[in-house]
Structure formats: structure tokens, C-alpha cells
Point group: C3
Chain length 390, copies 3
């Protein structure tokens, strides 16, 4: 029974490579040295430093925000006016960001009708036939009627059918209309989740009590875990000037980093806050620098005629950007690293062989030891050899 | 020509390690055992279980929602009033979430002016000079004028310039104002995409017909693929009580899990819905528990004076959180795992060698077989040996 | 001192496997061939093609948008009317998406009161007792009072307490109300960040000057880096018809792909724009096809009675979807790939051994050379052998 024999020999035979042991300080040390280096890399770097034994997962997060603060403005057009959250946060709630209006250009009592367009190189005119009825450009406020009318005593511009009077946003208030916004506070509530590890945590740590929360303000040094931020501080921390930024608006990134090593206690997994300006600061390479948008409040008078107050709102949008990776021990990455680590050991032997068999003066001697030549067609040596090694 | 010879020998020589075959049941079995274990791990665990042969990609998603439902309220201040989508969904549309107002504190006919601040330990006063003109705190509703006026017969508070009368949100309606919201339904449309595999799918499965969609309500057992959810059921599924939650509001996570094995038919790639409460439930460790925000509706009377209705909206925000990983066969991860798997086989030999060469009683004998000692400086043995193995 | 000796031999001994060198063209070539294949795979595929030496990170992004354009409509109900950004972008700002209203069904002057429900199979009635007081279905506009009243001369329906008159959205304007939207432009500002490499970039490239930005329109051929998009072009690029889409609305994905090889200069890291329709086009498998939502503008007349204009807004929501992976050289993935590559070399030997030792006619001869049999209990040979190899 050949088959049976094969199985037997497969099961009960143990094959291990034959080794030449060369007693040579030089080579020996070189060999161990290389092996040590590889070992150091695998253990020290891959495992200890880069945590190669961990499986990672990226964060799933949910954010809610709440702004607090009131400020007073005093202008000829509006008179004394108080601004509170309902006035300057638009829209009233968003998912991962919050917009705080810091400056504005408002146009009161707009109604649908004809009026002169804002003067610029395209819209200025001398006589009617220089205006094309129905013409609209991307920058125009309405549809041209074809007439050429007085914008003021000196300038004539094409008449447009639009919300009249058309908005004149040439002069942006400076300093910003709502300078007081610098002292507003924003409370950020963040709930994160690592699905793979089913690990969930909030940025309001269990160690924090509510009395502390009522009064604290985030500070990277003194209060690194307070979720309430002073707008001025955020902008400052990003190396910007709030009052400057307030004029034309901008976008701030409030970054929450949740890098966690879940092999350690959950209490070590804490948010790291950082701040960054996200919009292009230098006005050279950008159209419509800063950040602004238009919205309107609609009114109807007793006669049912609709009018609106158009607001071009400049302000700072705070994007709460949550990111991070969690790592936890897992067999597979560990094995992969061990496996390829072992494979690297082969390198040691290969290197040393190169040295021993090529560079050393006694290389021929070593080669003889290492290699056993088998001539394919030289039967004599064959037999001879077979005799010897039996 | 040495060089040519080298090439030849490189090409036409095949080198394979010499092996000692030890016929020993013990060692043989141990050896095969270890190898088997490693094989089992590589095949069974890495490939079958963890799908180590797959490349993965994470999901890119887009969500739209639509809420339906009307409810009736009857209060002294507002009288009988019907609430429909346009009234209770604020803002009317969002990207990945939808807010349904369930409770509210409204302050009618606010106008800019002077009025007494809400009484609390900071704002209560006895005489004028206990109020600081221009003082504002984060919690105040306006800017103090410096006067001390009657809030009611018993209490005097500092006067503020603000939207008057100031909001009194001390008493939150209980039960919730819009209890009926429990029966509202939300339709979630989700479109996902795996860029790396250019695989796209919708949560409205092609197997579902529109008549079914018109009437179905999601149920984890009976209708697991119906994209229409009853608000009450969502909250319930997360182990919460809707009526309780409705009072102070909260944030619910509607999680859609798109884990897909793209080596199988696309029809197996289906969404898994789950529900989780995202905000901090216990009021101990949180400021402003639940979820609420303020917004205002602005009116103008015939004389042009602006007034507003301030609404502090409590409600439930439903965040649609889409996550998941798709896996598909790829050569590289496969090779990496095979490669490191092979490397692990080396472990078997190493282990057995340790046993054979150190623990067995005939270890010296085996060592002799495995190793061939080469003394570096002992020429006699050298020659002798070279003679032998020639 | 045994221990010391062990250390010495460990340090100063170099062990390298003994090799049989078989001079055989066939086997030699096979062996080199397999090795070459493996080498080619490791170098060519893993490293050059798939960049296996790189560590990857996924993108963190922030988006702002700005829509420009005005259009004119002329209807019996509203008369001539101009629509600008503040009218058709709802809400005025969002984080990663922007909604442009293209079509609408408006219901003017709604007030709270009783009126007949819209006729459908459920609400039509002949006499009062076929209406249930207080009944509400998901599709109803209000709460039934129980009366059965004339909807028009021919049809009677149940009366409801609701915002009256109830909205009749049966007839959707066709062609779309705001056809002109096709020519609107949208400016997309995108700021991305790869946290792991601390690499940040904007989609407005430094090479672009502002005069160009003022006038350019994105075109995949001529202006691939212009961040200003014509709505019509976006829809077209996705293989859709704008005017069709405008009627019932829809969701468009504006995808920005930031795949970057950070081993090259940062200037090579540029955005790739692509467009895709995200909502279910075929109306067969979907409820409420297209994309629409309801919102209301609230008014108060002199007597303080609140009325509203309900708008069912159909439109196109543009989701800006930013994705991508950045790769940069890193030691660990490199080593893992090298390691497992080396391990694969073992395969070559294994394969050839199979050939040599089983398939070749001189296999027994080769086996003899490769293997050295050690009988466990045959002392004679043992001694004999030990003698020989000493």
C-alpha cells in the first residue's frame, strides 16, 4: 500500500534543513547584528511606536451647538437696537456648523418695481439705446427694461425691473456692525461613536460637573475640556484678528480630534480641540473674499403689497470638524506584522551569505561546505556521493 | 569568460536546501500539528472569517428626508391651532438631519425697548445703583440701563434695553405642546456610493413597489426595508420615552449601516437601520439638557414698527448617520496575507527544532545530523571534511 | 561555564542552510521563472502600480457656496416678479449643499379655519356621518370637523380645521416656474485637509488669478479648475435634462475628488470634479419623486391676525461631496509588502521541489541528494554517520 505509506511518512517524518555552522567571530557578529536591527524595527517601531498590533476604526459623530450673547448697535438708519441669538444666528440651527452674523448691509423696504441699476462699467449709460431690454448678467440685480435713467445727479444707469431700491453693498461697515460678537460664547456638544468597537463617548466628560459647565470658558491651558468657547478666543487661537475677520466674514474650523487607544481605559480617550481658518484669507486669489450670503425678511402691508428687508449678512461660520481614529488590539494586523517581520529575518541570512561566500578570503572553502554540487549527467560522482551520505 | 559562466550557473542551476528527515512519530506529529494550526488560522480566520482577501472602501452618501403629519393644539394664548410641516420643521430642509419641533415657549409681540430683566440672583435689585449701565452677562436678555424697576409687585429687577417683554422660559410646557408629533412619519431617502468600486445603491430597494411605499411603516421585524419611520417608533426603538423626550427635546441618531460584501450579488447589499439617542440624557452632567434653539418671526405694523414673535423651540433632531464598509476581492491584501501566512510556517520548524534539539534525549544525535561544524582556523578538519563531501 | 559558552557560540557562530545545487537547465529555468514572476508582481504591481509603500489618509473638508443670478416670472396670480438669491435659495446657507428653487406651488393668504379637504378617495363624502370628527391621516391637511361640505359644485368633501384654503398641489407648473435657473451660477469654495500629513489645500488654486475667477465658467475641457459652475451644465454633465429636472426637482451630487500622491509636489494635487444625479429618477420605485419641501412666510395684519403664504418648493439640491485619499511614503506598509514579498519567494522553491522530486525521471536521485534520512532507532547507521561527518 503505497498510499498508506505516503501518509505515514507525511505524518511521522519531521524535516528540518541542514545547517552549516561556521565558527567565525566576524560573520557571526554581522549576522546577529542584522538580526538584532530587524528585531528592533519589528518590536520597537512597528509594535510599540506605530501600534501595528491594532485594528483601527474612524469616528462617527454628531454635533449640536448653542450660541449665547447679546449686543447693542446704534445707527442712524436703525437707531438703537439690541441683537440676540434669534437675530444673528442664521439659520437658527444647523447640523455641524453655526453661523454668527458679525456685519451686514441691509436694504430696507424693497418692493418689486423699476429703478436704476448700480453703476459699474457695464451698467452706466448715456442714452436709452445703450441698454438692452431683458438683458441680465450674473452680477446684475434685475432685468433691464431698456431705459436709461438717473442714478444720481452725475451718473445715469440702465433701469432694471427688480426689488427696488437695489442693494448697494459697495461700502461695507468698518468696524464691523456687531463688534460685540467677540464676546459671544458657543457651547459645542459632541457625541462620537466607533462602530467597529461599539465605543461611544461625549465631549462633556463625566468628570465635569454642571456648576463648572455653567461658568467655564475653554482655554487650551487652564480649561482644555470645557466645551464652551468664546468666539474671540477661537479666532485668536487660529492666529487671526477677530475684528478684522468680522468685517468681511470668514469660515473657522473648530476641530475636535478623538484619537484613542482603546486598549487603555476609556477615561484616557478625550477630545483635543484645535482651531484653523478655512477660507482663503489673502484676497488676491479669491472671488468674494470672506464669507457672506443674502437673506430677506418679508412683510405685507395692510393693502397686501409685499415688501422685504434684504440683508447681506457677513459673518463667521464655525464648522465643527470631528475626526480621529481609534485603535484596538486585533489578531490579524498583529499576525501580518509578525509574519512579515519573520520574513525579514531571511534578509539577515541572505546578506551574510553574500559576505561569507563572496567577500571573505576563505570563500571557496565556505562555499564547499554550504553547497553540494550535483552534476546532472555525471553518474560516477552521483553514486560516489550517494555512498558517502548513506 | 567568467561573467558568462556566472550568468549560466545563475540560470541553469537550481539550489534547494538540504533536509534532514527525522523519522520520529513524536516530532513529526508536533510539527504537523503546529503547521495545521497555522494553516487553520490563515485559511479559516483570516480568509473565511475576516475576509482578508478583500480590499475595503468606506461609504459616500447623500440623504433627503420628508416629514408628514398635522396636529392640533388648544391653548389660552393661541387658541385652537393646527400645526403642519411648514410650522414645525425648522429649517425647512437640511442635508443629513431634520428637526421636528415638539414643544415651545413663545413670546408674542416683542419690540425693542426697556423692560425689567428676568429675576435671578444676579439681576434682582433693591435700588438703582445696584444696576450697572451697559452691563451684559452671557445669560442676560439685554443691556442694562442702570435703572431698577418692578418686575412684579414683589420683585424688583434691573431694567434692560432688549426685545420686550423678555422671554420667560422658566416654565416649559409639560406635557409637550405638540404631543401629536409621536404619530408623524419621516421618509428617508438615502443614496450611497463606494467610489473605489464605483458601486451605487439606494435604500429604496428595486424590489419594493410604490403602492407598498405609500402605506408601509418601518418595523425591524415585519418591514425592515420600509424607508418610512414613525417618530414614536424611532424613539422607542432607542429605548426612550417619546413624550418624556418631547418636553425638553433631544437628538436621535437614525443609523443606516451599509456593510456590503461586493463579491456577492448586489442584491445582498441592503441597509440595516438602527436607532440611538445621541444627546446626554442624564441632566446631571450637562448644561441646557435636551435640544432647543431660538428663532423669531418678524412682523411690521402699518406704522412700520418691527415686532417679532420669539420662539424657543424644543424638539427632536433626527441625524441620519450613514456608515459602512464594502469589501471586494483584491490581489494585494490577499498576497500580503498569504505571504505572511507562509512566513508563519517558519515558526513551526523553529518550534520543533527547539524541541528536537534541546528537549529530546537523543538531541545530540539529532544536532549532529542537522549541523555541520566548520572550524574557522582548524585546517586539518577542514581538508578532511572537504575530502569527505567531495 | 556552560552558560558563557552558550552565549559565545550564539554570538560567534553563523549558521546558514546547506544547499544542493542541481545543475539542470529545466529546473533552473523554471525556478528563475517563478522567482522572476514573484519579483515582477512585488515590484511592478504592489509598489509601482498600487503604491504599496504609501500610508494613506482620507480627506477632511469644508465647503462654502454662493449662487448668483436673477430671473423674471409673469403669472396671473403674482404678476410680473423678479426672483433673486434671497428668494430662491432656501435656507440662505447650508454647510455642504445648496438648494435652488426651480418650481413652486404657492397658496396665498392661508389662515387658520375650517375649509373642505382636498378631494381623494378617502376624503370625499356624501353626508356628514361619513366624516369622523378629529380624524387625521398622514396625507390630510388638517383635522376633520365631522361636517361634509361642498368642495366645488360637483364634489363634497369632509371639512377640516387647517390652514385654509388648503394647498392644492395636484397641478405642478410645467414648464418649471423658474426656468431661468438654468443660467444661474454657483461658486464652490472647498478647503481640504489631510490630518495625518498635515497637508491642506483649496480648490481655488494659487495659479489662478482673480480676474480669471470673475468671469470663468467650469468646463471639463477648457476650464477644469474654475470653481464656478453653471447649473445647466452640471445637470447636463450628469446626463440629465435641466428643464425636465426643474419641474419636479431632484438632488445633484457635485463630487470633488482629491486623490493625491504627496510624494510628488503639492502642485500636482488638484481637485477632479464630477457630477451625478443622486435621487431616484424613475418614478416607478419611489414615493414623492424628485425633491421638494414646504415652507411658509408668515404675515400679521393690522388687527394682529396671522396669515401665511405656503410654498411647496420644488428644486435642485446640489450636494457637494468631497472625497479622496492621499498617499505618502511610509516605512511600515513598505516593510510589510517587502516582507510578505520575500515570503512569497519561498513559494518558488516549494514549487520547484515538487517538480524536481516528483515529476522528473531522476527524482529518486535528487531526493537522495536533498534528504538525509535518520532512522530513529537504527543505532548502527547513526554511529556510522556521525563518524563520517566528523
Amino acid at each position: 500500500m503505497v498510499w498508506c505509506g505516503a501518509v505515514q511518512s507525511f505524518l511521522f517524518e519531521y524535516d528540518t534543513p541542514r545547517i552549516v555552522l561556521i565558527r567565525s567571530r566576524k560573520v557571526g557578529l554581522v549576522n546577529r547584528g542584522v538580526q538584532l536591527a530587524i528585531l528592533a524595527y519589528v518590536i520597537g517601531w512597528v509594535f510599540v511606536w506605530e501600534k501595528g498590533y491594532q485594528e483601527t476604526d474612524s469616528v462617527v459623530s454628531s454635533v449640536t451647538t448653542k450660541v449665547k450673547g447679546v449686543t447693542l448697535t446704534n445707527t442712524s438708519s436703525l437707531g438703537a437696537r439690541v441683537w440676540d441669538v434669534a437675530d444673528y444666528v442664521i439659520p437658527p440651527q444647523e447640523e455641524n456648523s453655526v453661523f454668527v452674523m458679525t456685519n451686514m448691509v441691509f436694504t430696507l423696504n424693497q418692493t418689486q418695481g423699476q429703478c436704476p441699476e448700480l453703476p459699474d462699467d457695464k451698467t452706466e449709460c448715456s442714452k436709452n439705446n445703450s441698454c438692452v431690454p431683458g438683458y441680465v448678467s450674473t452680477h446684475s440685480n434685475g432685468i433691464q427694461t431698456g431705459k436709461c435713467v438717473n442714478y444720481n445727479d452725475s451718473i445715469k444707469t440702465c433701469e432694471v425691473f427688480a426689488w427696488c431700491p437695489v442693494e448697494d453693498d459697495y461700502h461695507v461697515p468698518k468696524p464691523a456692525f456687531l463688534q460685540g460678537a467677540e464676546n459671544f460664547t458657543i457651547l459645542v456638544k459632541n457625541n462620537i461613536w466607533y462602530p467597529k468597537f461599539n465605543f461611544t463617548k461625549r465631549n462633556i466628560l463625566p468628570t465635569i460637573n454642571s456648576t463648572y459647565l455653567k461658568n467655564c470658558i475653554y482655554d487650551s491651558k487652564t480649561d482644555p475640556f470645557c466645551p464652551i468657547f468664546r468666539l474671540g478666543k477661537i479666532v485668536e487661537a487660529a492666529g487671526q484678528n477677530f475684528q478684522e475677520m468680522a468685517v468681511e466674514g470668514g469660515v473657522m474650523g473648530l476641530q475636535i480630534n478623538w484619537d484613542c487607544n482603546l486598549d487603555r481605559a476609556a477615561s484616557y480617550c478625550v477630545p483635543k480641540y484645535s482651531f484653523r481658518r478655512l477660507d482663503n484669507k489673502d484676497t488676491a486669489h479669491t472671488v468674494s473674499p470672506g464669507y457672506n450670503f443674502r437673506f430677506a425678511k418679508y412683510y405685507k402691508d395692510s393693502s397686501g403689497v409685499e415688501s422685504r428687508t434684504l440683508v447681506k449678512a457677513y459673518g463667521i461660520r464655525f464648522d465643527i470638524i470631528v475626526f480621529g481614529k481609534a485603535g484596538k488590539f486585533d489578531v490579524i494586523p498583529t499576525m501580518i506584522n509578525i509574519g512579515s517581520g519573520l520574513a525579514l529575518f531571511g534578509v539577515a541570512t541572505v546578506l551574510c551569505d553574500l559576505v561569507v561566500l563572496n567577500c571573505m578570503k576563505k570563500k571557496y572553502y565556505y562555499r564547499e561546505k554550504k553547497y553540494k554540487y550535483v552534476e546532472d549527467y555525471e553518474m560516477r560522482g552521483e553514486l560516489d556521493l550517494s555512498v558517502l551520505s548513506r
